[in-house]
């Protein structure tokens, strides 16, 4: 096989894997609907119990829905104007949108972790620390426009997530929960891929279809489990 043929195949594969605006909208729509249905589907359980775990579980999906909404909004603008960064076209508006997206993304992750760890993390300061951390993450993303900073932030976030999920699993009395923690870990890892896809659009372009399908699968699986348990 010649070098040109291999390059051609690579380009063809890249073209196939790079997704259009329609796919973006469908992808975001399904995840937003799933997240909102989880949020509203668990409202009665929360109203009856005021259980802290249920509270942060459903709030995390509300924030996932909001984050995906802003994510798709950024993607649509990038597609429409054929630019690499939203801040290049609309400096103030783009920065605010990116800030909100990063803030909701970080809070969604923190709240989902807190929903399984609230019995261990009893300090009232925990929630304030999460909001402060989310603010720091969002501000850093705005102030430092370099890939190295983006990777460092997401790597730190990933290390924190892996450590917390591992601790939660280790302290869990029910070893049958192994699947739940694997699902959560996958959700967080692929959510970080979704964040990187916004911050450094060219990096994960080849794997976009795989990331989207896997993310969809995880959200649908959690949604199915919620429906199964809440009726």
């Amino acid at each position: 096989m010649t070098g040109r043929a291999i390059t051609g195949m690579g380009q063809g594969l890249g073209k196939f894997m790079t997704l259009g605006i329609g796919t973006e909208i469908i992808y975001s729509f399904v995840i937003i609907v799933c997240s909102l249905m989880i949020y509203f589907g668990t409202r009665e359980l929360y109203n009856l119990t005021k259980h802290k775990g249920i509270k942060y579980f459903r709030l995390s999906f509300l924030f996932f829905a909001l984050a995906y909404f802003f994510r798709s909004f950024i993607k649509i603008i990038l597609f429409y104007f054929d630019i690499r960064e939203i801040r290049l076209l609309l400096p103030v508006f783009g920065s605010v949108t990116l800030f909100i997206f990063m803030y909701f993304s970080a809070i969604a992750i923190f709240y989902l972790l807190y929903s399984v760890m609230w019995k261990k993390w009893k300090s009232k300061l925990t929630i304030y620390i999460f909001h402060l951390s989310a603010l720091i993450i969002s501000t850093t993303v705005l102030l430092f426009i370099t890939s190295l900073v983006y990777f460092t932030i997401n790597l730190l976030l990933l290390i924190f997530i892996i450590f917390t999920v591992y601790t939660a699993y280790h302290q869990s009395k029910k070893k049958k929960s192994y699947n739940l923690y694997i699902i959560y870990l996958m959700l967080f890892i692929f959510w970080i891929f979704n964040i990187i896809d916004i911050l450094v659009p060219s990096l994960l372009q080849t794997f976009q279809l795989f990331i989207y399908l896997f993310s969809l699968g995880i959200f649908l699986l959690i949604f199915y489990n919620v429906i199964r348990k809440t009726g």
């Binding site: 359980l45 009856l48 259980h51 249920i54 399984v116 939660a168 029910k174 348990k229």
Partner: protein
């Protein structure tokens, strides 16, 4: 010879105590506060806390006739109906 200690009743969590209190009211349809406290199997100080919380959440209501009686509200009834679903959900997601 060492005598075997009687098996301790497992410590109930908040949701279980609420379920037990509401079940006692449901079984009696209406009940006076003192028998409810006795049957709830919790200390009077904790009972007071739970009692005010359940009144505040509108799970039960007080009726005044000859004596003060406690009855279950629709919301309290709903809690009992949904209790197993709540527990299953909390258990599934380790909340």
């Amino acid at each position: 010879m060492l005598l075997e200690k009687p098996a301790k009743m497992a410590k109930r969590n908040k949701l279980e105590i609420i379920r037990d209190v509401l079940r006692i009211i449901q079984e009696h349809r209406e009940i006076k506060p003192t028998p409810l406290l006795r049957r709830s199997n919790i200390s009077s100080s904790r009972f007071k806390e739970y009692y005010s919380e359940l009144l505040e959440k509108e799970f039960l209501k007080e009726t005044y006739g000859k004596n003060k009686k406690i009855t279950l509200t629709d919301k309290g009834q709903k809690y009992l109906e949904k209790y197993q679903t709540i527990i299953n959900f909390i258990d599934e997601f380790e909340l």
